[in-house]
Structures are given as C-alpha cells and as structure tokens.
C-alpha cells in the first residue's frame, strides 16, 4: 500500500499540493488527471521523494519513503524533462541505470529501443522532443520498479509512438504486475488501461475511483427549459447551457432507467457523457461561471 498522509507542498506562498490524503493499493495502473498547474507533478515529486513535503508523509508498505534506500530502490519517477544530461548518449544513460538498479532488465531495454526505433549511439541533445519521451519510457519500463511513475511521458510523441507506448505499458504490466502511475491530459486514448483514476484540481484530490465507475456516470439532459429544470432538481448539476427556450444540463451520477423513461415521455432527450467531457465538467467550474 502506498499512502499519502496530509501531504502539503508549497512554493513560497503558492500551495501546490494541499493536505492530500490518498491510499493506493499496489499492483494497479493509476491514471492521474488534472489541468495544467493543478499540482500533479508536485504530488508525484513528493510521492517519489524528489521533494520533501512541507507537511505530511508518504508511506510505502508502512514505512516512511523519504530517504529510505529500500523504497528509493523500488521507485522509478520519469519526469517529462528527463533527468539526464544533454551530453549523455542514450546507451550510457541505460548503462548507468543498469549499474544502479537491481531490477533493471537490459534485454528489455534493448527491445524497447528497437520498438521505438531509437539509436542508442545518439546524444540526448540530438533527440527530438518525442524521442526524448521515448527514452523516458524505456528508462521507466525497463527499470521494472515496484512503483513506476510516468509524468506526461507521451509529450511530443506522434500517434504511432503513443500507441506503441500504451501497448508496451500494458504488456509489461501483465507480465510484471507493479504499481504504475501515469499522469496525462490525453484521457480518452489511455483511459482503458487505467484500473483507477485520480483527478486533481487546485492541489486537492477531486476524485479517486475505478475508471469503469466513471464511464456513463455523467448524463446530459436536453429539452424545454422549465421541464429540464424540474428534472434536474435534486441532482448534482455539473454544467448548463441555454439557447432560447431550450436548456441542456449536465448531471453527475447515474440515472436509473425508470427516471430516464419518465423524462423521455416528458419530451426530454438524454445523452451519455464521455470520460473527457466528465473530466472537463468536473475541473472547469471557472469556465462555467465565466460563461
């Protein structure tokens, strides 16, 4: 079990992570979602002991993670910026990982280089943004660390590379189950891989649930304004929009079939809400207010 107990991360007066409590059972794939500046990277930095929280602790299997050699050995945190020196060659970066990581799989690293068509002789500085991300994915997956954290590891990758990345992530997870946390903005293309989803907003955990539980959770209801309003009463409203006498509201939660049938008889139409839309609605209060 990985636990965050009241973790707060601050930069001067800015609170990036605000008293976060989170329990993550191990050997699952988690998706961490949140808008820019919502505190994802700060949260992950604290989780990986890259940054000591101002308050609170991170526990891995009951022991404090910060500066704990055993926990550190089992943690791989791949940041979008990569913690490599520009003058390093890909090959030497992998070599160093092999020296230092007891769980490193050199053969698998070579296989991944091959899959991504990366040239191991190249220097990091000579790689494109997408290729750097691929090096990050190679380092992250071949480390086979019990806690693997990939922070926006798809940046700059084209659609083909991203597909290869997701495929390898799943295949390697199936072969070597471990805790994998993936932060992303591209919800729709990876959501199927996540067992659970964590949504962050302004430094707090907005939601932590099974991914499947979010599918079909939101509903849009459209129809004559007053009937829609009457129907929406008693439901959590995520967003609304009006045009003339027509009103559309987005409701949180699952409606039972009888309720939908009744609504349809009243001339309302119901539409499901995709994960991406649900995420946008949950994290965009400001957008709604300003509209």
């Amino acid at each position: 079990m990985i636990e965050m107990r009241g973790v707060t991360v601050r930069y001067g007066d800015t609170v990036a992570v605000d008293d976060v409590r989170l329990s993550l059972p191990t050997e699952k794939i988690y998706g961490l979602l949140g808008r820019n500046g919502s505190g994802k990277t700060s949260l992950l930095s604290a989780l990986a002991s890259y940054r000591r929280p101002h308050r609170g602790t991170v526990l891995v299997d009951g022991v404090e993670a910060f500066e704990n050699p055993e926990v550190m050995r089992g943690t791989a945190f791949i940041r979008d910026t990569l913690d490599l020196n520009d003058s390093d060659r890909v090959r030497s970066a992998l070599e160093v990982a092999g020296w230092l990581r007891p769980t490193w799989d050199a053969e698998y690293a070579i296989k991944l280089l091959d899959i991504f068509e990366l040239d191991a002789r190249k220097r990091i500085s000579a790689l494109s943004r997408g290729q750097r991300s691929m090096v990050g994915v190679v380092l992250g997956l071949a480390a086979r660390a019990p806690l693997t954290i990939l922070d926006e590891s798809y940046l700059g990758m084209d659609a083909v590379a991203r597909t290869l990345f997701y495929r390898e992530l799943l295949a390697d997870y199936l072969a070597h189950p471990r805790t994998i946390i993936v932060s992303t903005h591209l919800i729709e293309e990876v959501a199927d891989l996540f067992e659970r989803v964590i949504i962050m907003d302004r430094g707090r955990i907005l939601l932590h649930d099974e991914t499947d539980a979010l599918r079909g959770r939101g509903v849009t209801v459209t129809g004559p304004a007053e009937r829609v309003s009457a129907f929406a009463a008693g439901h959590a409203v995520l967003g609304e929009q009006s045009l003339g006498g027509v009103r559309a509201v987005t409701l949180d939660g699952r409606l039972d079939p009888d309720e939908i049938a009744r609504g349809e008889r009243d001339g309302l139409t119901f539409g499901p809400l995709g994960l991406q839309d649900l995420f946008v609605h949950l994290t965009s209060q400001r957008l709604e207010v300003s509209r």
Binding site: S45, S49, Y50, R51, R52, F66, E67, N68, P69, M72, R73, G74, T75, A76, F77, R79, T81, D83, L84, N85, V96, A97, W99, L100, R101, A143, A145
Partner: protein, 226 residues
Amino acid sequence: MSVVASLFRLWRPMILWFAAILVTIEVVAVAAISTAGPVRFSFWLVVAGSAAKYWPLVAGILLVSMYLRTFVANGRTRHEFLRGLALFAGSVALVFPAVVVVGHAVESLVLGLADHRAGSYPVFRFGDAAAEYLHVLPAAAGFITSGILITAGFYRFRPWIGVLLIAPGALPALAGDGLIKIDDSGELIARLPYAIALTLTAAAVVLGCVATHRLLRDVAIKRSTT
C-alpha cells in the same frame, strides 16, 4: 554498483583524457624549454600543481550539478549519493597530490639523467616526498570541498543567495591554498606553523562537508543542471 564505483566509471574517460593532456603538455613544454639550455624550474610543479587545485574545483562543481539527480533518478537516496560523493572527492584529494609528487620525481630524474638541470631546479629527494605531498594535499582538499559546497548553495537556493554564499563557500579553498603551498621553485611554504595551518584547513574542510550535508540532505531534485 555503489555510488562511488559508478562515479569512477562515469569519470574514467574524463580522468584519462585529462591525464593524457597533462602529460603531453609536460613532455612538449619541457622538451621545448630544454632546447634553450638547462631547466631552471619544475614545469610539472607549475602545471600539475595548479591542476591539483582547479581540476578538483571543477570536479566538485560538476559532481553536484550533474550527478545528484542522476543517482536519485536511478533509485539512490541523497544520503547514499553524499556518501559516494565524499568517498570520490576524498580519493581525488588524496590521489592527485601523490600524482604531483610522483610526476616531480620523474621529471627530476629524467632531467638529471640528461644532465639538463640548472642550479636553481628543485631536485626531487625521496626524504622530502612526504613533506611535498603534505603541502599539495590541503589545497586539493580545500578546492574540491569549495567546489562542492558553492554548487550545493546554488542548487539549494535562488541564484542571488547562491552568489552570497560563494564567500563562505570559498573558505576551505582559501585556507588550503592561502596557508600551505609549494611554489614552482619547489619551496614548501606555510604561512603559520605547519601544524596550525593544517588544522585550520582541516577544520574548514570539515565545516564545508557538514554544510554540504545540511544543504543537500533533503534538497528538492531540480529539473535542470543548475
């Protein structure tokens, strides 16, 4: 592999290249000087003597700025890195002065065999080897400590605080180099009685190590080199 072993593996090419360049300069320069008659000073003590300060300084700077995150990113704690760093820096501070002394011995011997030593040349004597070594060691130790400490200051704080910390950070280097040195004519100099000068330098180095530990033991791992 341990942190210190990895550091030596990573630095092997840099160490070998630097040694090759140093030896090449020595051979070419001494050969050139010899054509003008007997050699009056030790070129090796000039070149390797200052290299024994500046190479450790640069090494100290790079060790923190480039390698801390390499090791943390590969699953080592800051404390493990700091231990490896101390072993590596200690080895550099101990071995480089020995190289200076051995090089001086070789230069003296070769020039002696060729009968190319002028009267003012500092002839190497085995009985003086230890004293010579102990006059190079403090500066080497002081400079690598300062390199590491000043960089740690910049790593931990904003640049302007880092700049302010340069002055105290330079203390080990200033103590080592200012109190005890060896000049190009081979004269061993200690500004205070040697034992006191050495104690002061050692104290500055130890303080530098403690300060480095304080600065880096829970530092946030930066995204970029500086």
